[in-house]
């Protein structure tokens, strides 16, 4: 028992509800036994068991019980609060319970489903429910934080995703600042000679385009009045918090500054540098990446000179595509599959075969992956056209006397192959774009193992994304269609919150206790979000003050504070202590 002045709140009438989850819980736990024991815990006014609290009937039941007993605290023993807790909490809130006085204990994933022995699982569930009962008594009623959202958006990256988001938001009547670091809009898609599955145009403004399926038009973006396009520009700094961020951009015309309410990150990806795998001999004139091959094909289309290999201008007769260059390779830090390479390699192979019908075209792959509608037909057509698929990772490309040779095992046949090749094409994988790490730092975005940015699961309540959306290849390798999908959904949410002008944010934020704070500044130093500052305490000293819009509620400051003057709402030491005590207590006492 450690000393602390913080004492629990009242909580005189606690309601406990146990959910049977239609047998998923009730079959594995003895809920009646839990009910029996918990009813002896002081301050518990009533315990109810329902077979599905998240169902319509369950919610009605909760409301009736609330009406009958007027609980001032509620503990629900059910599934993970991350899943159905929102529904149950909402039903309680509608009955007049402050949502911060409710705790959902996870007796399904943490008990029923993982502890096969019923008695043991029941005992643990009892302990967890008891912990919840202890915890709710330490909670205080709070209100959400209203956050104003400025009616302007920043879009970082002018590729297909960024352009689509820009168009949607601008057309909804909001100002859009579109920042692109290169000299033109369109991103990588603009450079493609054709796209899957039509096996045709890349982007509409290209003259060889026959039809346009889903890619937005650069021309549209250029003509949209609400979009301020900044080319050759880089984000210098972004400051502020949810709903109101100040952006500084370096443009060729000088620095620009503006404020935005939402930010869409569409920084895309870059292709893997094949020099990092020396055995593939990238650097030899006839070893190309798929991106470089695209340029050759585009050139051919424009001038009609046919595809020639770079070394001597001859038409290549044997062409080898090597898949997974830099993808699915732990040694290069990229465990991920780059998703689009199988598809585009097949597309390019078919195109080459069309241009050079007598050429032997091989695709060396580990697994062919094309989780897209139409892929199977696409692949089938390639086989029909005579593309040869060889299963096995290429170990080595050798260049003797200017002649290329590809060494690989055909793992289906179990034979070693040595193919004399005229042109080797490396299907390079994708990595986060240059400079995306800077954006990650500025906006405190969580990254994945492969350094791609994580978007907050859109299943979570929208306020958790704090007006920042990661879309397209910034999230990880993606097809054009899926990047555009991302853009449209993110734009829809950004439009909604800007339209409302306000979002209610859960008050899981830190605050400093003026009586305890000594103004040492440890919290300021530890905060990643620059949410804390030291202000004059009016007595010649200073105290810490939290900007609760900037605060993301991690509690690092609370743990760093020597005097425990900094408190994270809901997770103060006494609150955690009581929960632990309840969980470890023998019930009944």
């Amino acid at each position: 028992m450690t000393d602390d002045t913080s004492k629990g709140n009242e909580g005189e009438a606690i309601g406990v509800f146990l959910c049977g989850c239609k047998g998923e819980i009730s079959k594995f736990l003895d809920l009646d036994a839990i009910k029996d024991l918990i009813s002896r815990v002081p301050k518990v006014k009533s315990i109810g068991i329902h077979e599905a609290l998240c169902s319509r009937e369950g919610q009605e039941y909760l409301k009736e019980e609330m009406k009958k007993h007027a609980f001032d605290r509620v503990v629900v023993g059910a599934c993970s609060p991350n899943i159905q807790g929102i529904i149950v909490g909402k039903a309680l809130e509608e009955s007049g319970l402050n949502k911060y006085l409710f705790e959902q204990v996870n007796i399904r994933e943490q008990c029923a489903w993982v502890h096969p022995e019923k008695e043991i699982a029941t005992r643990k569930a009892l302990a967890l429910v008891n912990g919840g009962i202890h915890r709710v008594q330490m909670l205080t009623a709070m209100e959400d934080i209203p956050i104003s959202i400025l009616p302007a958006a920043l879009i970082i990256g002018g590729g297909v995703a960024g352009m689509q988001a820009a168009l949607d938001i601008a057309r909804a009547g909001f100002k859009v600042h579109l920042v692109e670091r290169t000299k033109e809009l369109g991103g990588r898609a603009y450079k493609l000679s054709m796209t899957f599955p039509t096996h045709n145009c890349g982007i509409c403004c290209m003259q060889y385009c026959k039809e346009c399926v889903f890619t937005p038009k650069i021309e549209d973006v250029l003509q949209e009045k609400n979009i301020d396009i900044m080319l050759n520009s880089e984000i210098e700094d972004i400051e502020g918090g949810f709903g109101n961020r100040h952006v500084k951009v370096n443009t060729p015309e000088g620095a620009k500054e503006f404020d935005v309410g939402t930010i869409i990150i569409a920084t895309g990806s870059k292709t893997f540098d094949p020099k990092r795998i020396p055995e593939l001999k990238y650097g030899h004139p006839d070893v190309l990446t798929t991106v470089e091959l695209e340029q050759l094909i585009v050139k051919e289309r424009e001038k009609g000179t046919g595809v020639k290999r770079p070394s001597d201008g001859k038409t290549p007769k044997t062409i080898d595509f090597i898949q997974c260059v830099g993808s699915r390779d732990k040694t290069k830090g990229n465990l991920h599959c780059s998703l689009v390479c199988c598809t585009y390699a097949i597309g390019q192979a078919r195109e080459l075969k069309k241009l050079i019908p007598d050429a032997d075209v091989y695709i060396h792959y580990i697994d062919l992956r094309g989780p897209y509608r139409g892929f199977e037909e696409f692949y089938d057509a390639a086989k029909q056209e005579g593309i040869q698929f060889v299963r096995g990772r290429v170990s080595d490309v050798s260049a003797k006397d200017g002649k290329l040779s590809v060494r690989a095992e055909d793992t289906d046949a179990g034979t070693l192959l040595g193919i004399d090749s005229d042109l080797v094409v490396l299907s390079v994988g994708q990595e986060p774009a240059e400079g995306s790490d800077k954006i990650v730092k500025m906006l405190h975005i969580q990254t994945d193992i492969d350094k791609f940015m994580k978007d907050i699961n859109p299943m979570f309540p929208p306020e958790l994304r704090r007006g920042i959306y990661v879309i397209g290849c910034a999230q990880g390798p993606k097809g054009i269609r899926y990047s555009v999908d991302d853009a449209r959904t993110a734009a829809a949410e950004a439009i909604r919150i800007m339209h409302d002008g306000k979002v209610m944010m859960p008050r899981i934020t830190a605050r400093s206790d003026e009586y305890k704070c000594r103004g040492c500044g440890r919290c300021v130093e530890t905060c990643e979000y620059e949410a804390i500052s030291l202000v004059d305490d009016g007595k010649g000293g200073r105290i810490a003050k939290v900007d609760e819009i900037r605060c993301e509620g991690c509690g690092a400051c609370a743990a760093a504070c020597c005097n425990k003057a900094m408190i994270l709402a809901g997770y103060a030491i006494p609150q955690v202590r009581e929960t632990v005590k309840g969980v470890l207590e023998e019930v009944p006492p």
Partner: protein, 536 residues
């Protein structure tokens, strides 16, 4: 619980973004793991305060595991790294105290790694099963406190401390460092309020914890009222009424002391020892080290402190004079911070352990470098246990004596260090040792420049017994450091490790005033002396 196999209680603090979802996924996939594990969700692994971990153990857990996002992939940028650093320091402390650092584990598990979650839980439960149960704290049986009992106790206190003689002249308030900044605080009014003898007063009085017990009031009181003694007694009463102080580090330090008081743990408190130092198990002279090894772990992120150098230097100095002191791994905390936070019960347990230990060592003399330990033995131990059979001596007196006897000599011409000296309250006003440190400074060839407020008027470092470290304390520290800096000396010397910790803490971070005005390093006197001894 059956006797056959020990089933540990495990608390798993999981972060909202990876730890908790990985457990959910283990659930959805029905991957079993032991039911010993009870999950407590926190926002981030970095939310977990060391005090929360220790409290979990205090409240019945045998092991605590913290699960956060993969390193470099923290949802909150770096919460997991912060947690790891904190827990490393806590583990060190667990080992020193003998709680076994293996009871704490940190794991970084991605939300999708359900199998790893279950596997880790299996491993950890098995490991704790092998280590065995954590020590349990005895359940406190609270006596029913009545107004009558309290009044009787307070009356006794008033008589014992001479508080009855208070004529309400207010001199104590004018000299009180706390009252200077906390206008609602006055030593006098605490006494007045207590004379009303109301339980409610005592149960809600915050001022008894705000007092820094620096005793400047005692030394200035014309009627010799023992205010700090009065405060000490009142705190014990207040605590029984559920009136607790605000402790630094979430009460972590006092918690460890309670573990030491209530369990015989395999401590590792001599980690500071180096091969060149000579110590023994039995002998005439016992060197009582105190809590320094704990503080060294707790403040491990403040490298400038170098606290473990203090006992090293003390032994070095004694060795140089041909003394091989007894230093014991079984020593426990003197209990100073417990008795001053009102925990008399556990204080007495610590006292008994230390007295028994010293008796067994056969020592006739106990030497202290820490002023608090000295004061606690000298005043509190003798108050509770009667006259002690061995002599208590502070290192300053002890070393001075060795110098006078010619056994200890500082090299000639060392007079390069210029310093000012801070009288810590426990050594100065509490123990009345003012001159020996100054004589020692002279003997060692240090150029001493005095501050404005010295000896019985010395300013306070702001904090005692790890509590009420608030903005008033900060102001007192600023004041003292300004005084020190204005002497123009190279450093501030003090014998008290806590004064060193507090004063240097105040100037280590953000400052309300110009850094130039306070920027002077604080150094432990023992360390400075040992360095001079070795300088050529």
């Amino acid at each position: 619980m059956s006797e056959k196999e020990f089933e540990p209680n495990i608390i798993a603090f999981t972060c909202t973004w990876c730890g908790y979802p990985s457990a959910n996924l283990a659930g959805v996939n029905k991957i079993p793991y032991p039911a010993n594990v009870k999950i407590i969700r926190v926002m981030c692994s970095g939310t977990v305060d060391p005090a929360m971990v220790l409290e979990a153990i205090e409240n019945g857990a045998d092991g605590v595991i913290i699960i956060g996002c993969l390193i470099d992939n923290c949802h909150y940028v770096s919460g997991n790294k912060k947690a790891e650093e904190r827990m490393e320091r806590l583990k060190k402390l667990f080992d020193i105290v003998g709680l076994d650092s293996r009871r704490i584990r940190t794991e970084w598990i991605n939300a999708s790694e359900r199998v790893r979650f279950a596997k880790t839980m299996n491993e950890f439960v098995q490991q704790i099963r092998e280590i065995g149960p954590a020590p349990r704290m005895p359940k406190l049986v609270k006596e029913a406190l009545t107004n009558e009992k309290i009044q009787k106790e307070v009356k006794r206190l008033i008589e014992d401390t001479g508080a009855f003689d208070c004529v309400e002249c207010g001199k104590c308030t004018t000299v009180c460092p706390v009252a200077k900044y906390d206008t609602e605080f006055a030593p006098r009014t605490i006494v007045i309020r207590s004379m009303e003898g109301l339980v409610e007063n005592l149960a809600n009085d915050k001022d008894i914890w705000t007092c820094s017990t620096c005793e400047i009031c005692n030394s200035m009181c014309p009627y010799k009222v023992d205010y700090s003694g009065f405060i000490q007694g009142m705190r014990a009463q207040a605590r029984q009424l559920g009136n607790y102080p605000i402790c630094s580090q979430g009460g972590l330090i006092q918690s460890f002391m309670r573990f030491m008081a209530n369990a015989d743990l395999p401590q590792k408190r001599l980690e500071w020892m180096t091969d060149d130092l000579k110590i023994s198990d039995k002998g005439d002279v016992f060197y009582f080290v105190g809590c320094i090894p704990h503080f060294d772990a707790i403040f491990g992120d403040r490298e400038e402190l170098g606290l473990n150098k203090i006992p090293q230097s003390a032994v070095k100095l004694m060795n140089a004079a041909g003394i091989t002191p007894v230093v014991s791994n079984s020593e426990v905390c003197c209990g100073h911070d417990l008795i001053w936070t009102g925990d008399e019960e556990d204080f007495l347990k610590l006292m008994d352990k230390n007295l028994k230990l010293i008796k067994e060592s056969g020592a006739k003399k106990v030497v202290f470098s820490c002023p608090e330990c000295l004061r606690t033995f000298n005043m509190d131990y003798q108050d509770f246990a009667g006259d002690l059979e061995f002599e208590l001596v502070h290192l300053s007196d002890y070393l001075l004596n060795l110098i006078n006897e010619g056994k200890l000599k500082f090299p000639e011409g060392t007079g390069k260090l210029s310093a000012t000296y801070h009288d810590s309250c426990r050594l100065g006003r509490h123990s009345k040792i003012y001159d020996s440190p100054r004589d020692l400074i002279k003997a060692a060839g240090i150029n001493l420049t005095e501050m404005q407020n010295i000896k019985d008027k010395a300013s306070c470092c702001g904090v005692s017994a790890w509590m009420s470290c608030n903005s008033t304390a900060m102001r007192l520290q600023m004041e003292r450091m300004q005084e020190a800096k204005s002497t123009g000396a190279d450093c501030l010397l003090t014998f008290c490790p806590k004064c060193q910790i507090h004063l240097s803490c105040a100037i280590s971070k953000e400052l309300p005033i110009d850094k130039e005005k306070v920027d002077i390093p604080t150094k432990d006197m023992v360390v400075a002396l040992a360095e001079l001894l070795e300088s050529k």
